[in-house]
């Protein structure tokens, strides 16, 4: 293969020449060691429990063909044309329908901004609210995909711990008090309250009520990121923050990515009008409008009565089985010292290993066994999360989940055993055997995080 026709790549002198032109915000870089490791997870032979992917192979190809046919027949010219920045009215009607299914009936289409995926909402909210150095309050751990966005806007991210009931709202209040004393005013609180990414936990109703009250009392915005709310596998739905607040201080983020397809790149924001107007301007400058082609596609898809809900039901069924398979496999293969969450919905399980295991290093070892996960540090901005990992169960078939977890269990047990040998703790080494029974559900549901205070102390011990 000769590649004579390529343009030459940049030389080091070029790089220096351009470097002086780069904006300050491009200098915010995360450690590249993990990025390089993550690149290896995409090899074909690797069972990757690292992605956050829905299983698009479940969407019937003949439906796809029929919908595209319909778009071509009925709205070819409009689908190929620019559209309004705020989105097509026909799509907004679908969004209103989805929000009603999320128990938020009667949303006014004028309060909706259609976006290019839910990710754009995070970007637009930052663009609208964040000056360099402004504070964003997020959960610990937080959605790893939000971290680069916060960094790009040079936000100062303050993370608040979670437990089995979601964000610790008492800690949130203490944090807000402290920030106030320091004269730093947070602009918004970012939360994924339902089936959180990465932790898999759901914020309890009392905490939701209290969070909404705090936001109103302090006149703070809350960005409620809710991609997974309709992917509930058990239990009763909990009202969204938007439903509790009525839309005064909550910016709601929704998406078609997990209930239909991420490839269509469509999400939306529902926000107080003045905020929405600014986000609309921000969107105009970013991309003018989201793809009318896929907006027409979704509108056509929603036309047939109950079709989207039938597909959603089938997804729920598939993902529920995959979640159960993963939880069973974890119980079978992880040693007794490991803990993990038991999500009632969504796509992720968050596991925490003994604190002498560093999951970034563990990933390097796991890749030798051709299995991958997301190391916990990706979900923190302060170096915590070192002994946790995120596992995805939606994008991988049940056999691969079982085999992937078995391989992870093997390398974890290996490290537990080695640590036991190194510290002379015979009991530890023996405990490297798989747990005999599934962990107690109450305990397993507790979201355990590494002890930040202790780690900090060790770092300073030098």
């Amino acid at each position: 293969m000769t590649i004579d026709d390529r343009r030459p790549r940049s030389t080091s002198r070029d790089l220096e020449r351009y470097a002086s032109l780069f904006a300050e915000r491009t200098k915010v870089m995360k450690s590249s060691a993990m990025r390089d490791l993550m690149a290896l997870t995409e090899r074909d032979e690797v069972i990757s429990l690292a992605g956050g992917l829905p299983d698009t192979s479940t969407f019937p190809p003949d439906s796809y063909a029929q919908l595209m046919q319909q778009v071509a027949a009925e709205s070819c010219a409009r689908a190929l044309q620019y559209g309004p920045t705020e989105g097509l009215e026909s799509l907004k009607r679908c969004i209103v329908e989805v929000m009603a299914a999320e128990r938020m009936p009667g949303i006014d289409g004028d309060d909706v901004l259609v976006t290019t995926g839910g990710q754009q909402v995070i970007d637009l909210v930052c663009k609208t609210l964040i000056d360099p150095g402004d504070v964003v309050v997020a959960e610990a751990p937080t959605y790893p995909g939000a971290v680069p966005t916060f960094c790009a806007y040079q936000a100062d991210v303050v993370q608040v711990a979670m437990d089995r009931d979601g964000m610790r709202v008492d800690e949130l209040e203490e944090t807000l008090d402290r920030l106030e004393r320091e004269g730093r005013r947070p602009k918004f609180i970012y939360t994924v309250p339902t089936f959180q990414n990465p932790a898999g936990v759901t914020m309890s109703l009392p905490r939701r009520e209290r969070l909404v009250r705090i936001a109103a009392a302090r006149e703070l915005l809350v960005l409620e990121d809710n991609p997974y709310g309709l992917l509930r596998y058990e239990g009763d739905p909990v009202p969204t923050l938007r439903a509790l607040d009525g839309g005064e201080f909550v910016i709601y983020l929704g998406t078609f990515s997990k209930i239909l397809s991420p490839g269509i790149r469509l999400g939306w924001a529902v926000a107080p009008r003045p905020v929405l107007a600014k986000m609309n301007l921000g969107k105009q400058s970013a991309d003018l409008c989201s793809s009318p082609m896929t907006q027409h596609f979704v509108a056509a898809y929603f036309e047939a009565d109950g079709r989207w809900e039938d597909y959603l039901r089938s997804l729920r069924e598939i993902y529920r089985r995959r979640r159960d398979t993963m939880l069973d496999a974890l119980a079978e293969h992880l040693p007794a010292q490991a803990e993990w969450t038991r999500p009632a919905g969504g796509l992720f399980v968050w596991a925490t290993l003994p604190d002498y295991i560093d999951t970034t290093d563990l990933l390097a070892r796991a890749l030798q066994e051709n299995v991958a996960f997301v190391p916990g540090r990706a979900a923190f901005l302060d170096g915590r999360g070192g002994s946790s990992l995120r596992l995805n169960f939606s994008g991988v078939c049940e056999d691969d989940i079982r085999e992937g977890v078995r391989r992870i269990g093997k390398v974890v047990r290996e490290q537990v055993g080695l640590y036991g040998t190194l510290t002379g703790a015979a009991g530890e080494a023996a405990a490297g055997e798989p747990a005999p029974a599934p962990p107690d559900e109450g305990l397993a549901d507790v979201l355990r995080l590494p002890d930040a205070a202790r780690r900090g102390a060790r770092r300073r011990a030098e």
């Binding site: 030459p8 790549r9 080091s12 590249s32 060691a33 563990l362 640590y419 040998t421 190194l422 060790r458």
Partner: protein
């Protein structure tokens, strides 16, 4: 026109860096008028090489397989001339434990160390000897996998309680690890390139950690958290000594073409210590060897051209 296969990527943990090195080498080779065959190294390597029949292979791989002599062994077998060090020199560079023993035997200063494989702990009770090691090396102790090329898996144990954790991390990358005395001081790198006049030590590069990271040892190993100064601001005799040591290591290990030797200059007049040698240094825009070559007046294209010429000359001499 020479037909050059650029071997890059592969399955090592340094795949991404290797892809960047390889891409840059391909550009240089094209500018030099060579025919380029890009090969992302995988299960079909032997098949590809047989099919493509290159005149020479430019090995732009880093880490396992590419830098440890494995790929070089295959190239020998297939009679394909290749750039850089031969099999035995690669092995000597890649295995930090072997490298340090060779240096110590030759009287080249290298930080004190102890090395063990996993079985020493599992079957010989080596854990029982950790207190003695800790006493002799003093804290902080650097714990590293014997054969990991990048900074991955390198930990600093600050207290005895940190040592087992650091060992578990290092064993994630290799079956053999070393515990090394931490030399506090300045990070230096000297690249050696085989020019017309023989192996020449290029100007010294210093990695200067950003102020806020000065006491965070791990941060110093993260890309983008250090700034590189070339030539390093050193006394003339110190720079000359670093270059002399680098050349000596280059010759001791039997390197060919090029290599990079990493050293520490201990604070408080402790002198220079050689940490390791890299048989295939990074060749990206921000890598140290190209920066040093530039400072020496050797442009990247000339460097790449020289390495290809050396590879062909070595093969010619054997034929």
């Amino acid at each position: 026109m020479t037909r050059v296969a650029v071997l890059k990527g592969g399955r090592s943990l340094e795949r991404e860096v290797s892809l960047r090195s390889g891409a840059r080498v391909e550009d240089a080779l094209e500018r030099l008028g060579h025919e380029v065959v890009a090969v992302d190294v995988g299960g079909d390597l032997v098949e590809r090489l047989r099919a493509e029949r290159p005149d020479v292979a430019f090995v732009a791989l880093h880490g396992r397989d590419g830098e440890d002599g494995t790929v070089q062994e295959l190239l020998e077998l297939l009679d394909v001339p290749y750039t850089g060090s031969g099999v035995s020199a690669c092995i000597r560079c890649m295995d930090k434990v072997l490298a340090k023993h060779l240096m110590r035997d030759r009287g080249i200063p290298t930080p004190d160390f102890y090395a063990f494989n996993e079985t020493a702990f599992k079957e010989l009770g080596a854990a029982g000897a950790l207190p003695e090691i800790e006493e002799r090396l003093d804290f902080p102790i650097v714990v590293k996998p014997a054969a990991q090329g990048s900074a991955l898996g390198i930990k600093f144990a600050r207290t005895p309680a940190d040592v087992p954790t650091a060992l578990v991390a290092a064993f994630s990358y290799d079956r053999k690890v070393l515990l090394e005395r931490h030399v506090r001081g300045r990070d230096l790198a000297v690249s050696v390139v085989d020019l017309e006049e023989g192996p020449v030590a290029l100007p010294v590069v210093e990695a200067v950690p950003r102020e806020e990271d000065f006491y965070d040892f791990e941060a110093r190993y993260e890309i983008g958290r250090s700034e590189f100064v070339c030539p390093a601001r050193l006394e003339d005799d110190v720079a000359a000594e670093a270059q002399r040591l680098a050349r000596e290591v280059y010759e001791l290990f039997g390197c060919h073409g090029f290599a990079r030797v990493d050293l520490m200059l201990e604070e408080g007049g402790g002198g220079l210590f050689v940490l390791e040698a890299n048989a295939i240094p990074g060749l990206t825009e921000t890598s140290l060897l190209p920066q040093a070559a530039d400072a020496h007046g050797l442009g990247f294209d000339a460097l790449v051209g020289r390495l290809v010429a050396l590879a062909l000359a070595r093969a010619g001499a054997r034929a």
